[in-house]
Each structure stands twice: as structure tokens, then as C-alpha cells.
Symmetry: C2
Subunit: 335 residues, 2 copies
Amino acid sequence: VSRFDLDEMIAPLKYENGVLHLLDQLRLPTEERWVPCKTYEEVARAIKDMIVRGAPAIGCAAAYGVAIGARQKAPLDEVCKTLAATRPTAVNLFWAIDRMKRLGTTDAAALEREAIAIHDEDIAACLAIGEHGAPLLPEGTVLTHCNAGALATGGYGTALGVIRSAHRAGKKIRVYADETRPFLQGARLTAWELLKSGIDTTLITDNMAAHLMKRGEIQSVIVGADRIAASGDTANKIGTYSVALAAREHDVPFFVAAPRSTVDLKTPTGAEIPIEERAAIEVTRIGDREIAPRAVKVKNPGFDVTPARFIAAIVTEAGVARAPFEGALERLIKG
Amino acid sequence: VSRFDLDEMIAPLKYENGVLHLLDQLRLPTEERWVPCKTYEEVARAIKDMIVRGAPAIGCAAAYGVAIGARQKAPLDEVCKTLAATRPTAVNLFWAIDRMKRLGTTDAAALEREAIAIHDEDIAACLAIGEHGAPLLPEGTVLTHCNAGALATGGYGTALGVIRSAHRAGKKIRVYADETRPFLQGARLTAWELLKSGIDTTLITDNMAAHLMKRGEIQSVIVGADRIAASGDTANKIGTYSVALAAREHDVPFFVAAPRSTVDLKTPTGAEIPIEERAAIEVTRIGDREIAPRAVKVKNPGFDVTPARFIAAIVTEAGVARAPFEGALERLIKG
């Protein structure tokens, strides 16, 4: 796999002439519309509204947002604060903003080069994650939850990068994609991009995974991550923990794929990861269709935490960490 | 609780002057529309299309369907065959049709009286299930999956009947309702009828249950059943098994509530229960909104099987069975 192949591939963001263009992930798969962001405020709003989502992609978008803020000659502290206040769980957001800050300049051109570097490195990391992870996947059917694909990253994807690399290496891999309520990233995004890549994909509702594992129809699980604690506990899209419980019950290996920027050694365990609570309307409406009585109360946590003991391996661009993760992750991050 | 109270309550079906009126469960909660069925073919179509659903309610509807067929002077074998071919998993359907057949008459008035008796007995069974089950629920939050309520039965409900009886008895009970993809019975039906009954209800997506149990926010689970094997293995709406796995992991008691007609002693274990595969469009569309690419493949099993070992108790109108279920269930059914 080279960058050359990626030119024809799916990308969630493009930066041109001081404008960040985001592929509107709210409108996929029925419409492919690009949203131009000319101000850092527009970038922050797009992250909050999930026009761009996925921990690594959010990191890239925020980095470009800082560069755009510098072009606007806005106070950089204010720019960074606004961008950091968009979403609480994914650590890549804070990692990217910190890296931009650490450059110690308000020069727009220098900040732009750094944002492009963050984006380029993220794509390179995904390609390396794919290479490291592909040998782990047994032939047969792999289940994935949410979208940890090209659309969630600079390009290529983390969990879906591993699936793409295994597929390109000639492994016989089929995919079950959890639809991933409430936001339907699996139905709308994962199914869309895997079909584009010519990978055999079957859509299921989230609550079918355990039943299919019981029937022996799933050989492995691979998901992305929004934050990995030093212990290996992994925050990812709500529903991931449920899949991990089922995988353990049925002896199906459960893998996590993420760039090193998702590992947060300052967060000791999953208990310290803040979980975003999102709006009720994401649960009670789909599009403009109301699917529940208006008076009903709703819970809508965006993420859950899968304990490290349920995870067979964590795949990063620097290699594969296996349990016990504590030492292994630190070596990979710092190595 | 008396029949008098139920007069003001929710009912999914009414039989008047040879016409079966069904509350259209496809249109709830946004519209309360009654569909009149004047022929047994219309009743069969309504069961197949899930205008009426829920194992006990399907049994009642099919019984009325046989009576209507007799009024049409249709060959009763043909009537029964058509009604039995609508849905494969819920055993109450076959139980009710068999009971109508065993009457050994083609007299419409006699068949009508038998259908009314089946319906009346189902409501009485739900009230008794409620009385037997209410003491089992600990105070706090109970999770339910799908709709095992008034709308799924002759009235009052099985799992929701237990919740109603606990609530009426003054227990402090809150409910988490799984939305229950793909058909959204939890969001559309359970939330609707619990709000009508004034019970504190919070809607969640199916994939949130495990996370909330991990946080200690759920004290018990109660669900209905579509078929209970002699072993106690229980077929219920897809996703029930996933909830049972999470409940066991978190030491949350998992209860099943169903009339004796749901217990099928001729089915030895869950492995012998046929699982209905339903249309892809239930997963890829919500209303007229497409939520997935058209080209994607879909799996849509309507039910799964929860092994008996995950079930703390099965509540029937004749009392509560506890593990080991094999002897206990047979005693309850035949006793």
C-alpha cells in the first residue's frame, strides 16, 4: 500500500488555500456533500455537530482549525480553547491541539505546515496499523462496531485499515458491520466505505452480534478507540463493551486498532475517562422521523469503556501490544 | 387489579360483530389507528406485517382469525394453515390455533366463544403473572427489552404486567426501555404504554444496557418470551441474549415473564426453536428514510435464544419456576 493508492481513496477532509473541506458525515450515504470551513469557529461547530467524527479525524480537523485561526489572526489561546471544548472523550483532539501549541508560534504558514504534517502522519500511521494488524485477523468473518475507517481518520482507517490490509494481502475476510445506534456510523459510513473498497460486508443491528457469535458466524472483532488509558482500558463508541462481553463469552478474539496519539498515559484507567452525554434527539429521531413519544426521558452516553482484560491485542503504528498492556503500551508510545 | 381497571387500559385488539379491530402497531406512537379485519386472510396479513405482534397477542388474533374464517364458511383446515404460516417462532400462535381446532366444530358462534375465552384467559394470565412477579423485582431500575406489554398480549402485559403490578403495589420502580432495533418496539410501544401508565421510563439504545449495568444503574431485567423450551431456554426478540450476557456479568437478576401457553414442552432445548429471518428493509430503512447503502447485504434474525442458565426465574400465571427449570416448568404447565 502506498500513498499513491490512497489518492483514489476515501478521505473525510481536504485542506486547500486556507479552507478545510469536510465530507459531511451526517448526509452519507445518501449524499456526498463537502462542507467548507473558512473560520476556526466553523471547524469547531463541524466537530461538535459530527460533520467530521472519529478520534483521529477530529485531531486532524482541529489541527487545521488552529492554522485557520492563525490566518484569521484570532488569539491562539482562544482558538485552542474553542476547539478543545467541542468533544470531551477522544484524546486525539487534545493531543493535536497541544502539538500545535507546542510549536510556539502564531505564524499561520508554520502552523499550516504542522497541521499538514499531523494529517500526513495520521495516514502513514493507519497504513502501518494495517500492516501490523492484518496478520492477526483469522480468515472468516470479522465484526466491527461504529466506523474506524478512512472516514474516521486522515484516510485508510484504523480498524478498517487492518481489514483493508488483510483483504489486499489476499485473506478471505468478510465483514459484519454493527449499525451502531444512535448515530448509525456503521450503517451509514462503514457499510458505505467498505462497499467502495469492494469488501464483502453485511449490515446487522447492534443487538445481533452476540447471537451470531453464539452461532459461530464471527471469527474476530476489531474496533477503533477514542481514548486508551495506560492500563489498556479502551473508550470507544457506545456498544463496544457489549460486543466485548459477547466476544469473551464465545472465545472470539477482540482487537483494538488506534494510532499512538489515542493512547493517553496520563489517564491511568478507564474509570478516569470522561464519557460524553449527547442530546436526546439523537435517540428519539432518525432524520426527521420521530420514533418515540415526545415525553419520554432519554440517556445517550456517546462512549463506553472496555476493560483491558477483554482485549487480545492493541494495534498501533509502532507495533502490537498484548496483555499486560501497562508496560507494553508505554514502550510502544515512547519507543 | 381487576378487569374493571383494564377497561380504561391499553388493548391491542377488540372483537366486535365478527370484525377484529387491531391497533396498528406500525403507526404508534405518532398515530393511534385501528385496522378492521373482516376476513381470516386480513388477520393473517396483519400478523405477518406486524400490525399486531407479541406472542400472546398473536395467539389471540389467530384465534379470532379462525372464528372469522368460520363465519366466512372457509374450509377450517385452510384457515388454520394460512394463519399458522404467518410467523414461525412464537409458539402461542400454534397453541391458539390447535386449541380452536380441538373444539372439533365449524360452528362460527362456538369458535367465537372459544376465541373470546382465549383472549379473556390471556388477560387473566397477565394479571396473575403480575401478581406472582411483582415481589421478585428489587426497587430501583428495571431494564426491559422489546415490548412484552399490554400491546403484546390480550392486555396488561407479561414483563410490563410485572412492572405495572410492582408499581401499583407502591414499589419504587423506574424503567430503562431498550429501543429494540430493528422494529423499535421499545421506543415506539413500551415507552408509549409505560408513559400512559404513569411509570418513570427512560429510553436507551440497545447497545447502552451493558454500559449502564457496569455503572450500577440497573437492578434487574425482565423480558417476555416467544417460546420457552422444556429446558428453560427462551426465545425472545433479537438482542435479549446480549442483555442476558451483560446481566450475568454484572450480577443483575434476569427474569422472564410469559403465560404457560408460551412454554413448549415438545421443544426440548433452544437449539430446536426455529428463528425467523425477516426482510432486509427493516434494517436498512426507518420509515421512508434510507439509513444504509442500497447495495449492502443484511442479516435480520427476529429472535435469539437465551440459555436457561442465564435466567433467574420464569414467571407464569401458575407461579414462579426457578432453575433447574426442566422439572419446575413441567409441573407448572401441567399443574
